[in-house]
C-alpha cells in the first residue's frame, strides 16, 4: 500500500505541474488555489507513505535512498506550503513540482526494483532521528532556494532580452525571489546546524566520510550566507550559487 500512496502523490504533483503549464500556455488564470489544493493532496499521500514506512521500520523512514528522496520531496512541499505565501511566491509550487516528481519517480522505480524491506533499529536513538530529519528538512529549504534561483534567472533573462514571454507576468518580482533565496538559505543553515549538532549526541558514531560530506555542505551554504551578509551578493550571483550549491548537496548526499 505504501508504494500506491507514493505513486498517487507523484501523479498528483505531475498533474499539478501539467495543469499549471497548460494554464500558462492558454492564458487561463485562477488555477492557483487548485494548485495549492493539489500540493496539499500530494502532501497527504506523501505523509501516508512516510507513515507506512515509519510503521514498517519503527523509526523515521529514511533508511534507504528512495525514502531519503521522498523525505526531501516532502520537505520541499511542506516548506512551500508553509512559506510560499509568506514570501509571495505562488509560482514556486509550480516550479517545485517537476523536481518533486523526478525525485519521487526515482524513488518509485528504486522501490519497485528492490525494496530493502523493514530495517527496525536495535535501539531507537532520538538524536539519530533528529540528525537525519533536520538535515533532510534543510535539504528541502536548500532545494526551494535553488528553485527560486532558477525562477530568478529566467526572469533576469527575460528582462535583459526586452521580450517578456508568457512566464514573465506570472513570475514573482526579482526582489521577492532574492529575499526568498536569502531566507531559505538561512532556514536551511539553521536546520542543518541543528542536524549536525544532534549528531554529536548520537549513540551511533558517523563515519569520517559522513562527517566530511555533511560538513562540506554546511560550509558551502555558510560561506554563501556569510559572503552575502558581508558583501551583498548580486541576485544573479546568489541564484547561480543557490542552484550550484543544491546540486553539490545532492551529489554529496548520493555519496552517503
Amino acid at each position: 500500500m505504501d508504494k500506491i500512496y507514493l505513486i498517487l502523490a507523484t501523479l498528483i504533483f505531475l498533474g499539478g505541474f501539467v495543469l499549471a503549464v497548460l494554464a500558462l500556455r492558454t492564458g487561463k488564470h485562477g488555477t492557483g488555489r487548485l494548485n495549492v489544493g493539489l500540493a496539499v493532496a500530494g502532501l497527504v499521500f506523501q505523509c501516508l507513505f512516510l507513515k507506512e514506512r515509519g510503521d514498517l521500520h519503527m523509526r523515521c523512514p529514511i533508511t534507504n535512498g528512495a525514502e531519503v528522496l521522498v523525505f526531501i520531496s516532502w520537505s520541499i512541499v511542506i516548506l512551500y506550503l508553509a512559506l510560499g505565501r509568506a514570501f509571495r511566491l505562488s509560482l514556486l509550487g509550480v516550479f517545485s513540482m517537476p523536481l518533486v516528481f523526478v525525485f519521487q519517480s526515482i524513488a518509485i522505480i528504486s522501490l519497485l526494483i528492490n525494496d530493502p524491506g523493514a530495517r527496525p533499529p536495535e535501539t531507537l536513538d532520538p538524536w539519530l532521528e533528529m540528525h537525519a530529519a533536520m538535515s533532510l528538512l534543510a535539504y528541502g529549504a536548500f532545494g526551494l532556494a535553488g528553485i527560486a534561483g532558477v525562477m530568478d534567472l529566467i526572469l533576469d533573462r527575460q528582462l535583459k532580452s526586452h521580450e517578456p514571454g508568457r512566464l514573465f507576468y506570472s513570475l514573482p518580482p526579482m526582489k521577492y525571489l532574492y529575499d526568498a533565496m536569502q531566507r531559505l538559505i538561512v532556514i536551511g543553515c539553521g536546520l542543518l546546524t541543528i542536524g549536525i549538532v544532534s549528531a554529536f549526541f548520537m549513540d551511533y558514531h558517523p563515519t569520517a566520510l559522513h562527517w566530511m560530506v555533511t560538513g562540506a555542505v554546511w560550509l558551502v551554504y555558510m560561506a554563501i550566507f556569510v559572503v552575502n551578509l558581508l558583501r551583498g551578493l548580486r541576485p544573479k550571483a546568489l541564484s547561480k550559487l543557490s542552484i550550484a550549491a543544491f546540486a553539490f548537496a545532492l551529489i554529496a548526499l548520493s555519496v552517503l
Partner: protein
C-alpha cells in the same frame, strides 16, 4: 419585469456628445428621481464616466421605458435627436453588456479596473436614493461577481498598455512594491514627467530631478514633490537610486557604462532600472550588459505596450466565454425568476451589501 440598458460610450459617440450627456455627480440623485417618475420605468441606475453615459433600469414594458428615457435625455441635455444614437439592450443583452462593462471589456483601455469601482459607486448612489429594487440589486450584485471572476480567471488585466504603464510594470517586476524605490529623473520633459508621475502613483516616494536648466528641474521637482539636483551632481546619485528616467535633449549619450559600473560597486547587490525615453538616446546601450542593470529605451517599452494590448485583445473571447458561462449558470434565468412586483417608490428594501 424586464431589465434594459440605454447609453452611449466612446465607441458610439464623440466626446462633444458625451460631455453634453454627462451627469454631474451631485445631480444624479435628482435625475434618478426624475427618471423613475417617467412612465414605465420602475428602477434605475445611472453610470456616468468620461467614456460612457448609461442608464440601467427595470420596467414591465422595456421598449416604452427606453423611448421615454431617450426623450428625457434629449430634452434635458438639449441634444438634437439626430446627433446622438443610443444603444439599447434588453434582458440578457442588457445583462451581458453590463457584465462586459464591469469586466473592462468595453473600456477604452481594455481590461482597466477603474470602471469596476465606478459601477459600484453608481449602484451605491442609486441604492442609497431608493432607485433600485430586486432586479437592479440582483443584476448589479451579479455584475460584481462576474467582473471579479473574469479578472481572476483570465489575463485581461495582464500586460502593459502604454509606455508609462510598461515602465511601471517592469519596475514592479524588478523591485516588487515601489514604495521604497528612489527615482532620478534626468531632463524635465513631458515624457519624463508622465513616467515619473506613473511611478509616483504606484508608491515611489523619493524623486530627484536633474536638468541643465536648474529652474526647470525645480519646477518639475515641486510638481512631483521631490527635490532638484544640479546637473553636474547627478552621477553622484547613481548609487542611491533604484530607477533612472532619462529624457534630456542631449545630442549623445550622457549615462556611460563606466559611470553605472562604478555606482554598482557601491550598491550591495541592489538592482538598477534605467528608462531611456530620449531620442537620441541618453544611455549607452552597453549598460544593459552589466549584471543587475536593466535598460529599456522608448522603442522597447512601446513594443511591450503593443504586445500587452494585443495580448488583452486575445483575451476578449475567453472573457466573453466566462461571462456566458456565468449567464448560463445563474444569470438571466435567476433574474427572470424574481417575481414580478411593483415595489414602492423609494423602497430599495432587499439590497445586498456589495
Amino acid at each position: 419585469m424586464s431589465i434594459f440598458c440605454l447609453g452611449v460610450n466612446h465607441n458610439t459617440a464623440p466626446v462633444e456628445i458625451r460631455e453634453r450627456l454627462a451627469f454631474a455627480e451631485s445631480a444624479i440623485p435628482r435625475h434618478l428621481d426624475e427618471i423613475r417618475d417617467l412612465e414605465a420605468v420602475e428602477e434605475a441606475v445611472v453610470l456616468s464616466t468620461c467614456n460612457r453615459v448609461e442608464i440601467y433600469g427595470a420596467a414591465d414594458q422595456p421598449g416604452e421605458a427606453l423611448d421615454r428615457l431617450v426623450e428625457y435625455l434629449i430634452s434635458h441635455f438639449e441634444v438634437n435627436d439626430g446627433d446622438v444614437e443610443f444603444y439599447r439592450h434588453e434582458e440578457e443583452a442588457a445583462a451581458h453588456h453590463l457584465f462586459e462593462v464591469a469586466s473592462g471589456l468595453d473600456s477604452m483601455v481594455l481590461g482597466e479596473t477603474e470602471i469596476f469601482g465606478q459601477i459600484k459607486k453608481a449602484y451605491s448612489t442609486a441604492q442609497t436614493n431608493g432607485a433600485t429594487s430586486r432586479r437592479m440589486n440582483k443584476l448589479f450584485q451579479q455584475s460584481f461577481s462576474v467582473g471579479k471572476r473574469v479578472r481572476t480567471s483570465t489575463r485581461i488585466q495582464q500586460g502593459s498598455t502604454s509606455i508609462g504603464s510598461a515602465a511601471v510594470d517592469l519596475a514592479e517586476k524588478i523591485f516588487g512594491q515601489l514604495d521604497g524605490c528612489r527615482v532620478l529623473v534626468l531632463g524635465a520633459g513631458e515624457m519624463g514627467r508622465v513616467t515619473a508621475q506613473s511611478l509616483k502613483s504606484r508608491g515611489a516616494k523619493s524623486i530627484a530631478v536633474s536638468n541643465r536648466s536648474f529652474d526647470k528641474a525645480e519646477a518639475l521637482a515641486d510638481e512631483l514633490e521631490g527635490k532638484a539636483v544640479p546637473f553636474e551632481a547627478w552621477t553622484d546619485m547613481l548609487d542611491q537610486v533604484d530607477i533612472v528616467i532619462s529624457s534630456t535633449g542631449a545630442p549623445g549619450s550622457i549615462v556611460k557604462k563606466a559611470d553605472v559600473a562604478k555606482a554598482l560597486k557601491r550598491r550591495r547587490g541592489h538592482s538598477l532600472f534605467l528608462i531611456d525615453i530620449a531620442v537620441p538616446r541618453d544611455i549607452d546601450n552597453e549598460v544593459n550588459d552589466l549584471d543587475n542593470v536593466y535598460l529599456y529605451n522608448i522603442d522597447q517599452l512601446q513594443r511591450i505596450a503593443d504586445a500587452g494590448v494585443a495580448q488583452r485583445q486575445k483575451q476578449i473571447e475567453i472573457c466573453r466565454g466566462v461571462i456566458q458561462e456565468f449567464l448560463n449558470e445563474k444569470g438571466i434565468e435567476a433574474l427572470a425568476s424574481v417575481p414580478v412586483d411593483h415595489p414602492e417608490r423609494g423602497a430599495g428594501t432587499d439590497s445586498q451589501s456589495s
